[in-house]
């Protein structure tokens, strides 16, 4: 095979492989993704057993029973809330009023958190509550 033809074959093979891999990547990402939902969206429509990524703020007044925590998550700007039951360790910044992200599945009237998926937004960096300031 002459060198230029050999190069073309290699190029086509490499591009085909890349396209196939990229296709697999795209396909699996849609197939295995958890839909991101706010509490009001979950209240409107949530299928039992389906995994959702719930984002919102923790309503003050949660309860702990051993390693299980029962709390409600509300919309960032709103009052609609859903009950969540989560088994496992809570991150240090977890408390009422904090934003959380957790993967949940609906079981009866409760959304059960998937293990080790609960994260609390770090309250530190760029969102400290400031008193009125002047430039």
């Amino acid at each position: 095979m002459d060198p230029s033809r050999k190069r073309r074959v290699r190029l086509v093979a490499a591009l085909t492989t890349a396209v196939l891999l990229a296709g697999a990547l795209v396909w699996t990402s849609f197939g295995s993704a958890a839909q991101t939902r706010t509490p009001s969206q979950l209240l409107a429509s949530a299928s039992a057993g389906q995994s959702y990524q719930l984002t919102g703020k923790v309503v003050p007044g949660y309860t702990r029973d051993g390693t299980v925590t029962n709390f409600r998550v509300r919309d960032r700007t709103g009052t609609a809330s859903v009950p969540v039951r989560y088994a496992g360790e809570l991150p240090d910044p977890f408390r009422g009023g904090r934003e959380v992200i957790v993967n949940v599945r609906k079981q009866g009237g409760v959304f059960v958190g998937e293990k080790d998926t609960l994260v609390t937004k770090c309250p530190s960096k760029f969102s400290a509550a400031k008193p009125k300031s002047q430039s």
Partner: protein, 730 residues
């Protein structure tokens, strides 16, 4: 001081504008005086921003709460060490640090290259000052660190988030920012080279130490962040595929690809388009990382929803991406390759393979990170992918990467013969096979972990073989002892052997990741004092509760710790007694009572860790403070009632007694506590591997005296030649 700080920032902004204009004018008209003036503007920028930064640091050290930023991110009880780090825990302070580091690295490269790259440097200076203008503009017009509180100066500040009170946090952000800002240096010189069509390897050679330093700083920053997460966040992991973590990983991956592929251009004149694209992409990804942290466009554990900087960063990114594509497309003729790949059995092919794997990894991380936006754009419904999706792609790619990092150093440039290839790979392959068998028999069944162990052994054996061959050849030529020959060998070719050491470190690091993620054993248990839980071969016993009040350096109460002593036993033998606690920091909320404020503020876990060569035993406690709630409420009511009339000194004394009583009560009537307990094999290999990578990187960066001499004379000769023959300008 606020006024002085603001004046410095305005001066910095004006200096950037002037310097960028002077550099472009000097470059276009070939006026050396204007080019030099532009360069001096960079030095002036560094000086000005340094003064601003010192003013801010001094305000933090003095706890000057007339600075809004100091009030919001520090307090008198924040230890001095962490007060120094507090400026970059804020949006404004971190932007100032970004600008300081950008101006420092820019000054350094322009100082060292002032007698070289005369055509390219003015445009590179303009690009660097363009970044400076952008960040100085943000600090002047949008996020000034020198704002004051109106009307009053509080006696106490909010305090630094306790989660950031970890030694890693002192170094982690400056290292990440150094990585990001250092990557703008090769980006700027690549743009300069493209604009002036000076696309030989001169700009690459000049900026290579900066690209290496960027890669090293970013890598160290990433590992420090992982270590902080492991020790501080109370979940026992070191990587969560969070968007902000991913943002730092992406430029590191493309930067690693560039550092390899650039060798092919230097040696063979190949991959010019690829290299310049990698440099530009890395620069864009560095800014993208900064954009992700501040825009709030993706859900992340890092809070930046309040930021308003998304739009300016988006505009900057569009300019960078559009400009980069236009420049590369318009210079395609000059970027034509000088040679073709001779054989798939060559070092070039191995490097090309490694580049494709690294870029594929970067694409996977990019796709997964931005999937919420992509899915919303395509399907109208926002979705996200989790760690299992990332692992599905990055694990096999990491295996191929480690394999290639082992093969690369063992294979010849241009065209290797099969006989040579076989001879070089015989020992490493044999070692890998032995390790594979041993681990399969004695350890376990995880296929990916087994493969990683074998490939790690392959890389280490390959590096060992190369070092041994080099030392043997050196001793045959010059004699001397083995250690001396080894040192001389490395000294004489620091880039090569530094690179080998990096490969060895990466192999060790990946083995640590494979072992700790595949064979980790974890339990979440609720125990009362005296009860035990079994984790793997270890028995962990909750021995006793602990509590204490911790005072700051100024004598004021900083926090309350509730914790536990946990005894670790294996095979009937007591190995260690670990201490873990959770710290409760007071809130300054005005509606909270003096006692309850200690339980409504931030908390921070201190893990109990018995770290070893072969495994870590890790535990974190979550104390149950529910039984204390009635006592806390009672304490608050005392201070609202009769206690309210007491003088301040007596109130303080009463509060101290109440809190002492509270801590005694926790130890006396302690309820069951919840523990997370982990036994993770080879975690220390991750940190040890990272240290070897850093050492290798430092060796590769460090210029040997001979190289410096050679570079100076070569630069001088090149300058004389260019000045004699070549016109200047775009």
């Amino acid at each position: 001081m606020l006024v002085a700080g603001k004046a410095c920032l305005i001066l910095a902004f004006v200096t950037c504008l002037y310097g960028a204009g002077a550099s472009i004018y000097g470059g276009r008209t070939r006026r050396r005086d204007w080019v030099a003036s532009g360069r001096r503007a960079v030095y002036a920028l560094f000086g000005t921003v340094l003064v601003a930064f010192v003013i801010l640091e001094a305000a933090f050290l003095r706890s000057d709460f007339s600075f809004d930023l100091v009030y919001a991110h520090s307090s008198t009880t924040t230890p001095t060490f962490y007060r120094m780090a507090a400026p970059w825990s804020s949006q404004e302070g971190s932007l100032l640090l970004w600008l300081l580091l950008l101006s420092f690295w820019s000054s350094l490269i322009l100082h060292f290259s002032k007698d070289r790259l005369r055509e390219v440097a003015p445009y590179a200076t303009a690009v660097l000052l363009g970044f400076g203008t952008f960040f100085a503009g943000l600090l002047v017009f949008m996020e000034s660190p020198f704002q004051s509180l109106s009307g009053f100066v509080p006696a106490e500040g909010v305090g630094l988030n306790p989660l950031l009170r970890h030694p890693s946090m002192m170094i982690h952000p400056p290292m990440l920012y150094s990585g990001y800002t250092l990557f703008t240096v090769p980006f700027a010189f690549a743009v300069g080279a493209l604009l002036t069509r000076r696309l030989n390897t001169d700009w690459i050679r000049s900026t290579r130490p900066f690209a290496l330093a960027a890669w090293l700083c970013l890598g160290v920053g990433i590992v420090l962040g992982a270590r902080w997460s492991y020790q501080e966040l109370g979940w026992g992991g070191y990587w969560a595929w969070d968007p902000v973590e991913n943002a730092s990983l992406m430029p590191w991956l493309t930067g690693t690809a560039f550092l390899h592929s650039v060798m092919i251009q230097e040696k063979r004149g190949m991959l010019k388009v690829w290299n310049v694209s990698l440099v530009l992409a890395t620069g864009v990804l560095a800014i993208l990382g900064t954009f992700l942290v501040r825009s709030g466009i993706l859900q992340s554990i890092h809070a930046f929803g309040a930021s308003t900087l998304g739009i300016p960063f988006l505009i900057l990114l569009i300019v960078m991406i559009g400009g980069s594509i236009a420049l590369v497309a318009s210079r395609s003729r000059e970027l034509r390759t000088e040679h073709r790949l001779d054989s798939l059995l060559s070092r070039e092919a191995a490097f090309l393979g490694n580049n494709l794997v690294l870029v594929a990894m970067c694409f996977v991380v990019f796709w997964g990170t931005f999937f919420p936006l992509i899915s919303k754009a395509i399907s109208g419904s926002e979705s996200s992918v989790g760690p299992p999706w990332f692992d599905r792609y990055t694990v096999p790619l990491a295996l191929v990467l480690v394999l290639l990092s082992g093969v690369g150093p063992l294979i010849a440039w241009r065209r290797a013969t099969f006989a040579n290839f076989r001879r070089n790979l015989l020992v490493p392959t044999g070692v890998a096979a032995v390790v594979l068998l041993a681990v399969a028999v004695f350890v376990g069944r995880s296929a990916t972990a087994l493969a990683m162990f074998a490939l790690g052994a392959f890389v280490l054996a390959g590096v060992g073989q190369e070092l041994w061959r080099g030392v043997r050849a050196r001793r045959a030529m010059n004699g001397g002892s083995l250690p001396r020959a080894l040192v001389t060998l490395v000294q004489r070719n620091r880039r090569r052997y530094g690179g080998y050491l990096v490969h060895a470190g990466v192999a060790i690091l990946f083995v640590g990741i494979a072992a700790s993620s595949s064979f980790q054993q974890a339990r979440d248990v609720k125990l009362t004092a005296g009860q035990s839980a079994r984790v793997g071969d270890y028995t962990l016993t909750y021995m006793r509760p602990t509590s204490r009040l911790v005072a700051a350096g100024n004598g004021r109460l900083e926090r309350i710790d509730f914790g536990a002593d946990v005894r670790v036993v294996k095979g009937g033998k007591v190995l260690e007694t670990l201490h873990t606690h959770r710290s409760y920091y007071p809130s300054i909320g005005p509606m909270l009572g003096p006692v309850s404020r200690f339980f409504e503020g931030e908390t921070e876990s201190q893990v109990g860790l018995d770290a070893g060569f072969s495994r870590d035993v890790w535990t974190a406690v979550a104390p149950d403070t529910s039984l204390l709630r009635p006592v806390i409420r009672q304490g608050d009511s005392v201070f609202e009632g009769p206690g309210a009339k007491l003088p301040q000194a007596q109130r303080d004394e009463l509060l101290a007694k109440t809190l002492v009583g509270l801590t005694d009560r926790y130890v006396r009537d302690t309820p069951p506590a919840t523990f997370r307990m982990l036994v993770s094999p080879l975690v220390n290999w991750i940190w040890f591997g990272a240290m070897i990578v850093a050492l290798g990187g430092l060796i590769a960066i460090w210029p040997s005296p001979r190289t410096v001499g050679r570079r100076v004379s070569a630069a001088y000769a090149a300058r004389v030649g260019r000045e004699a023959r070549q016109p200047v300008g775009v």
